[in-house]
């Protein structure tokens, strides 16, 4: 089992499937549980954690266990159930009992993606949500000569673009 220092910032890599934190039998603080969840990658975009994607809404210490609220990005997102079980498993591995609640209101918005999450997306050639589509630039070469190929990309939350300058296709994480 790999233990990591809680307070060392870690970048998620695509092979991560949640790392382990041992609280050595003590009940952690709410902040520490948030930090633990920051190590749980989104299954579709593994460089971004479920916290940075804005899926984890609330963490509560219920004294007899923990309660975590998660919200789906899209109603039909096939990863929602998997994310719930990954969150539950992450807490379980840390020796914490957890109940996962799926909440619909308020509806998830792409503005909930954190700055860290946006940066991680960009670094893996996914353009994070923008307010004005005219400002959309190729993550590969920075050119603004880009063209929408398809309003839906590899997942429901992304659209597919191509760049006319470097000819690379790329994903755009849609604004909702």
């Amino acid at each position: 089992m790999k233990h990591i220092d809680l307070f060392t910032p870690v970048d998620l890599i695509s092979t991560d499937r949640g790392r382990d934190i041992d609280f050595h039998g003590r009940n952690p603080s709410v902040d520490e549980v948030w930090q633990l969840l920051e190590l749980v990658p989104d299954p579709e975009i593994p460089v971004v954690s479920v916290v940075d994607l804005g899926i984890v809404r609330d963490v509560r210490d219920m004294k007899s266990g923990w309660e975590v609220d998660i919200t789906p990005t899209y109603s039909g997102c096939p990863a929602t159930d998997f994310i719930a079980s990954e969150v539950e498993r992450a807490l379980d591995r840390a020796g914490l009992e957890a109940k996962i609640k799926t909440v619909l209101a308020p509806a998830w918005s792409s503005t909930w993606i954190t700055a860290k999450g946006r940066q991680a997306m960009l670094e893996s050639n996914i353009v994070p949500p923008v307010h004005d589509l005219n400002t959309l630039a190729c993550p590969n070469c920075g050119s603004d000569q880009v063209n929408l190929k398809n309003q839906f990309g590899s997942t429901a939350c992304k659209a597919l673009y191509t760049c006319h300058t470097c000819l690379e296709p790329f994903d755009y994480f849609k604004t909702i």
Binding site: G76, C77, Q151, A156, I176
Partner: protein, 259 residues
């Protein structure tokens, strides 16, 4: 293993309304799935399947609420897979066969505008759960509407052949438009309580939006003639039974089957 028991078909007004919303999505979503491996281009296939996924996800939210309110509906899968045609409460427009791509887009666009306008009002429903499900759905449905609207314009104001096919598609589907704006007693009681929107208001907004799009697409808005109705009360056109037979066969052969 779940037993193949009959699903309750006597619903209160709210569950009737919830099931109608769910069934519209389920049935249209299933129709879109029939394009899988048949779509004209790969990108379009991805889009159709993703739209379908959104519709199924929204249907699941509605169905979970219906099941919460009435335990005799068992669960989300059972209520989808064990109800017969006559217990499905979707509008007829949603179950019409795919036809060609213009038929699919015409059907979908006319429904999308209705769906978006209805959800917009439902976001402020007196019922909090209804409002939450609507607020979640509308973000996705706005995007669907943008896409189908683009296609209606592109095909309408396209080549001679695409224009003619889109016009025929509109003429053919128009007989199912009227049902979207009908309301029975169950629905009117929810309108009075501020739970559901009044479809008469939505009808005029719908007309304005659709006629503007059709004008941009150089298409002629069909004349209102005879309206085919009954879907919301469980009386369906021929295609639905065949579609459900295919959709439900696996679950009925293996009750309780999950992915």
């Amino acid at each position: 293993m779940t037993a193949l028991t009959q699903i309750n078909s006597n619903h209160d007004a709210l569950n009737t309304y919830i099931l109608r919303m769910a069934d519209n999505n389920l049935v249209l979503g299933q129709r879109l799935c029939e394009w899988c491996a048949n779509a004209p281009i790969l990108e379009e296939e991805t889009a159709l399947m993703n739209t379908s996924l959104d519709l199924f996800g929204q249907a699941r939210n509605w169905l979970n609420y219906a099941v919460d309110r009435d335990a005799s509906l068992q669960d989300c899968d059972a209520v989808t897979m064990l109800r017969d045609e006559r217990s499905y409460l979707n509008m007829l427009i949603c179950e019409q066969p795919n036809g060609n791509f213009a038929d699919t887009m015409a059907r979908h666009y006319l429904f999308d505008v209705w769906h978006r306008l209805t959800l917009e009002v439902l976001c402020n429903s007196a019922n909090e759960t209804v409002a939450a499900i609507a607020a979640k759905s509308i973000l996705e449905v706005r995007y669907h509407e943008q896409r189908t609207r683009n296609w209606v314009i592109r095909l309408g104001d396209g080549t001679e052949v695409s224009h003619q096919r889109m016009q025929t598609a509109l003429d053919d589907i128009w007989t199912y438009v009227g049902e979207m704006f009908t309301q029975d007693e169950a629905e009117l009681s929810l309108v009075a309580q501020g739970v559901a929107p009044d479809q008469q208001t939505i009808a005029s907004q719908w007309r304005d939006i659709v006629s503007a799009t059709l004008a941009e697409a150089t298409l002629t808005m069909p004349e209102d003639g005879y309206s085919q109705m009954g879907g919301k009360q469980g009386e369906h056109t021929e295609g639905l039974g065949i579609m459900l037979a295919e959709m439900q066969s696996l679950y009925r052969a293996h009750p309780g089957a999950v992915w």
